[in-house]
């Protein structure tokens, strides 16, 4: 019995060294050499300043910007240290109330627009940090942004298209528009190298 306990501890120490030190440090070393940009957070850097991450969404409430999806993170929307969803059940009255409030806010910012609102634009994402909206949600907001900025709608549409990713390898996932990228393009702060 004592032998088994001694062996347990010895094997635990050895396998910990292998899987808890050697393995993650190997991955870190290789990742930093092979994919340094991705391994460090896909950061968007402009004039030496970090503007954000391509992968982490930011909140927008100005009509001049495209709005991201609602975020249920604790301590304010898009809190990078509190990822998570609302966890509201489908029949919870609070969910219906939240959605109604979001529809009203979108309508208030764009009174002429009576089209139905794409569902992703009024529902909280799973991570609370979703960087994307659907192309439908971008199209819904395009006229508002063009009007607020005094831009021709064709120009706004071109920027949306440039910020849109199709299904990966033609089949996987869903088409999506990166909101931070699109808004940086609108502000003229997006570089091709990003």
């Amino acid at each position: 019995m004592a032998t088994l306990f001694r062996q347990s501890i010895a094997m635990l120490v050895l396998l910990t060294a292998l899987t808890g030190i050697l393995y993650p440090l190997t991955v870190t070393g290789l990742a930093q050499v092979l994919f340094p940009r991705q391994a460090n957070g896909s950061l968007i850097v402009h004039d030496g300043k970090v503007l954000g991450s391509r992968l982490i969404g930011q909140p927008f409430r100005d009509p001049r910007y495209f709005w991201s999806r609602p975020s249920a993170t604790a301590g304010g929307a898009y809190n990078g240290l509190a990822s998570g969803g609302s966890n509201l059940g489908p029949t919870n009255p609070a969910l219906r109330a939240d959605v109604a409030r979001r529809v009203a806010a979108l309508r208030a910012a764009d009174p002429g627009n009576t089209a139905p609102v794409p569902v992703d634009l009024v529902t909280a994402s799973a991570s609370g940090l979703d960087p994307d909206i659907s192309p439908a949600a971008a199209a819904y907001q395009a006229a508002r942004v063009a009007h607020a900025r005094g831009l021709p709608s064709a120009r706004v549409q071109a920027l949306i298209d440039a910020s849109t990713r199709g299904r990966q390898l033609g089949a996987l996932g869903e088409p999506r528009v990166n909101v931070l990228e699109l808004n940086l393009r609108l502000d003229g702060r997006w570089l091709p190298s990003h």
Binding site: M11, L15, T19, G20, G41, G85, T91
Partner: protein, 579 residues
């Protein structure tokens, strides 16, 4: 379901099945008793580990010694993880200066990761230091999966060996599972995931200014980007059917799962080893058809449930009707019930993930199950309640399915009045009693645990949703921990002394009682003689047996859980239709 939903489901199944044989054959080599090219290649490293660990690779263990060694090894890992969490505040690799984790949370987490459950009552980004992530959580992700494989290997030897007293050497099994299977696959997957944008660094969190300054002056004008060694943990989290996320949002977090391709690979990794082990099993018991039959039984249950879950979520949420919301799928949007889902994954990948992660005892999520439609959320709940044998955990899913197979041949034997046999071994009273315990212990833990939690104020205190859905949250928590899955209806606040303690105990019992039961069966089987096949033998590789096995799994699950499901998701579905 849209055509693309079907396409993504088909691609997933096709690639999974295409990998079953190559990986299954690889694992058969890794675990072979005769030396071969693979074990000769790793031989020097293996021998060095055994020498340093003071173990003799050729020592044969009977089932009791095997069980005691495995339990001692797991207990040592559990204690190490507990201590690491408690004192992390004084240790290096903690750039965010996180304090030691509280006793109740640390206990719950240590049990959770050691038992391959990876239930999490804490939020990763604000609780665990990088050192705890590396030396504690990542290590247990490997070792709990290796433990599952070791038990499976012992059970396989129980069928293979004739009139034998021993089941092999636990240290060799643990080492080989780690060295030849889990480590190389994880290294490969971690690097591919990094290429997609999963982060892998030891930097401190990064503060960046928001592009649009917040309207309310009280709101922060900067955003904190969390950092850390994510990819290395993510890979084994998926491959080892662990499921514990680096971040609170788990695989919904863009730094854990940034693209549809990373999502596809992570989802593939959930079922990869459990599916391939079916092939390894067939190879090792000397009849590949036996492995295919078990895999077929798993698929018969998995595929309809996956399609059902996708369809339920794609149909959208009727509660949003009349609000001017467009839930219709089109070329421009996934549509459907998007609350708690990510845009890049849409409906098909969220629902398919939910099905895979609960079919296997993985428990990671890329969408919030609590916000699924009543029927969409029923699918993960049912899959866990079926005992985590539809693929199930690495190793544990297959040995759980073998317990059901023993019960199935016994029932068939009763029907025709012959002594049941499985893989050339007579199934007698002792094996049958143990198999029944293995099948029924999780059921009892779930039903009793849920009842206790519902009756006590401490159990009801943390509900995140009213009505039938609240009951589902508690039922889900015990179904998840009672089967070592680890996923959650996360609206329930479980970081309380009551839930940390009760769920910790449930996870411990569910894991180790079953392991001891299975090793006892293995020991008894190994001691038996081989029974030659006769006209009275029920063949166990035929479609008839697959139907029998599937029926056994479904009947046990339905008899146990239908009343509880009627009070939860079914009641919620009926009320949502009625309105």
């Amino acid at each position: 379901m849209t055509p693309n939903d079907w396409l993504q489901l088909a691609l997933y199944l096709a690639l999974l099945l295409a990998l079953v044989k190559p990986l299954g054959a690889w694992m058969a080599l890794a675990f072979a008793e005769q030396p071969n090219a693979l074990t000769r290649l790793g031989g020097p490293l293996e021998r060095a580990l055994y020498r340093l660990g003071g173990v003799r690779a050729d020592e044969e263990m009977d089932w009791r010694r095997y069980a005691v060694a495995l339990l001692a090894f797991n207990l040592a890992g559990l204690v190490l993880l507990y201590l690491l969490q408690r004192v992390q505040g004084f240790l290096p690799l903690n750039p965010a200066h996180l304090p030691g984790v509280g006793a109740a949370t640390a206990f719950d987490t240590a049990v959770s990761f050691a038992t391959n459950t990876n239930w999490q009552s804490y939020a990763g980004e604000t609780t665990m230091s990088y050192l705890t992530d590396l030396l504690g959580l990542t290590v247990q992700n490997f070792l709990s999966a290796a433990t599952g494989i070791a038990v499976l290997l012992a059970v396989i030897r129980g069928f293979r060996r004739r009139s034998a007293a021993t089941l092999g050497n636990v240290w060799v099994d643990l080492t080989r599972a780690t060295l030849y299977v889990l480590l190389p696959l994880s290294l490969l997957l971690a690097l591919v995931l990094t290429s997609q944008g999963v982060i892998q660094n030891l930097h401190a969190n990064l503060h960046v200014p928001l592009l649009q300054a917040p309207v309310a002056t009280s709101a922060p004008a900067t955003q904190v980007l969390p950092m850390g060694p994510v990819a290395s943990q993510e890979a084994i989290k998926q491959l080892g059917t662990n499921g514990g996320g680096f971040f609170n949002a788990n695989s919904a977090h863009p730094f854990e799962n940034p693209t549809p391709l990373s999502n596809f690979l992570e989802m593939l990794a959930i079922l990869l080893i459990p599916a391939a082990l079916c092939w390894t099993f067939g190879e090792m018991v000397g009849d590949r058809r036996q492995g295919w039959a078990l895999l077929a039984a798993m698929l018969v249950i998995f595929v309809p449930l996956a399609a059902g879950c996708i369809a339920a979520e794609q149909a959208g949420n009727p509660a949003l009707h009349g609000l001017g919301v467009d839930q219709q799928a089109s070329a421009l949007q996934a549509g459907g019930n998007m609350e708690g889902k990510e845009t890049r994954f849409g409906i098909a990948n969220s629902a398919l993930w939910a099905t895979a992660t609960t079919a296997a005892s993985n428990g990671s999520v890329n969408a919030m199950h609590d916000s699924f439609t009543p029927l969409g959320g029923l699918v993960p709940l049912v899959l866990m309640q079926l005992g985590e044998v539809i693929f199930g955990g690495v190793g544990s899913g297959l040995y759980g399915m073998l317990a059901f197979a023993v019960v199935a041949v016994f029932i068939a034997g009763l029907m025709v009045g012959r002594t049941p046999e499985y893989l050339g071994k007579k199934i007698e009273a002792y094996e049958m009693k143990m198999a029944s315990l293995v099948v029924l212990i999780p059921c009892a833990l779930i039903v009793v645990g849920t009842a206790v939690a519902v009756l006590l104020p401490a159990g009801r205190a943390g509900l995140g949703n009213p009505g039938a859905h609240g009951f589902s949250e508690i039922l889900y928590a015990f179904s998840s921990t009672g089967n070592n899955n680890g996923s959650a209806f996360a609206g329930l606040s479980v970081n309380t002394p009551f839930y940390n303690f009760t769920l910790g105990v449930v996870m411990y019992l569910a894991r180790y009682l079953l392991i001891v039961g299975m090793l006892a069966i293995a020991g008894a089987l190994a001691a038996k003689k081989h029974v030659p096949e006769s006209a009275g033998t029920l063949p166990t590789h035929t479609p008839l047996f697959v139907v029998l096995l599937v029926s056994t799994v479904l009947v046990v699950g339905a008899l146990t859980f239908l009343p509880a499901l009627a009070l939860g998701p079914i009641a919620e579905f009926l009320s949502s239709v009625a309105h």
